[in-house]
Symmetry: C2
Subunit: 223 residues, 2 copies
Amino acid sequence: MSFSQPRAPQGEAEELAPERLSLGVAARLSQYLQVLTQAGKMGKDTISSQELADYTHVNPTQIRRDLSGFGKFGKRGVGYNVDSLVSQIRKILRTSGQHNIALSGAGRLGQAIAGSEIFADHGFRVVALFDIDPRKIGKRVNEQLVVRPSSDLMQVVQEDDIVVGVLAVPNEAAQEVADELVKAGVKIIFNYSETLLHVPPEVTVHTSSPAVDLLCALYFYLT
Amino acid sequence: MSFSQPRAPQGEAEELAPERLSLGVAARLSQYLQVLTQAGKMGKDTISSQELADYTHVNPTQIRRDLSGFGKFGKRGVGYNVDSLVSQIRKILRTSGQHNIALSGAGRLGQAIAGSEIFADHGFRVVALFDIDPRKIGKRVNEQLVVRPSSDLMQVVQEDDIVVGVLAVPNEAAQEVADELVKAGVKIIFNYSETLLHVPPEVTVHTSSPAVDLLCALYFYLT
DNA sequence: TAGATTGTTAATCGATTAACAATC
DNA sequence: TAGATTGTTAATCGATTAACAATC
């Protein structure tokens, strides 16, 4: 039952599921994709559901079940081919394209994010970096990025078709900058500050909270 | 059923559940605690299950159910008192104490983490900052922290009773530094690099992957 | 009182787990 | 062949949801 609808008859699951994925499945497939991409970079050709489970903390049976809902991607006795599974999941999640990101805040955190590849792997590209500090504006952060004034935000979001905004500003400024991003048309905000943000219902906020993971991990360590 | 065991008879849930929390419950309580702490800082006295749901993306009925398993913490028609709920959840999660963290990597990311309060809220305190770059060693990052050489790691972890290590080093160095942390006795690693880490079974790794959240959010935005 | 929100139940749905035949 | 791992089933458990009485 449950996810038998999208299964293709012959292992050729090129045609996608007619229905929207459930939140749980989409979240897990995204996790698998992240691990597979990294495993590929590290030179792995195949990976078993057990290895995927070790890295994602998702049950291996659950992983095989999630995948087999869309086709027979694995080889018994061997595992899954990393590259081919990456492209299968990309098809399912429809994220083969390029997605532009606006990053607000050119402090230490903002520069660390701009210089890293955490977002680059899945076709996310930081195309604009904003700050309000006049001393930072105009400064070159890497080959492609120069710090721009927040007044450019509206224009950039529209020109570059930006849907995702990343907040790397101090807590006090977070709500104000979030408002600007929303006004400019951003639909997804990734919030690296601690501030609880108020946004209209059509906008989604994801707040980074490493302390939450630690709290939970510590509970299981202590008990 | 499910969580009726730990309920105290009179709303006086001072005595804790005899059993270990399930992973789901512990994870959600940690989330509530994070939001409540922040709401308190922002001057909120009470909060409803609906508001908590908006910030955590957990169903409001689920939240009330999670909490009522441990006592009657709310006031009908009003909501939950923020401060009192914080201390109740702290009791349930047994995280009232102070926990020391070792941070490896004094680059832009490491310094951003050392200077922020993301970990400080729940009694986590960065007590030591390490780097291998001789030019960084000895540098003062804030009032309490001076960059130290990795050779001090073993000693510091033992002296300061450190259980949590945070990795803010380049991908290439991540495994090596993780090995050092493990060898020194750390049991929980928070990994800000993309590297898939190999650790012994008694050590837990949490990898920060903002791109995973974005992938998932984008899927629901695009469909 | 009227409005709001909790605490709680019951029904449904999705996740987890063990087990194992199929097969590479 | 022997060993390993997938694909799949069935049973159980936890999460989700709607609904509503209790009560602040």
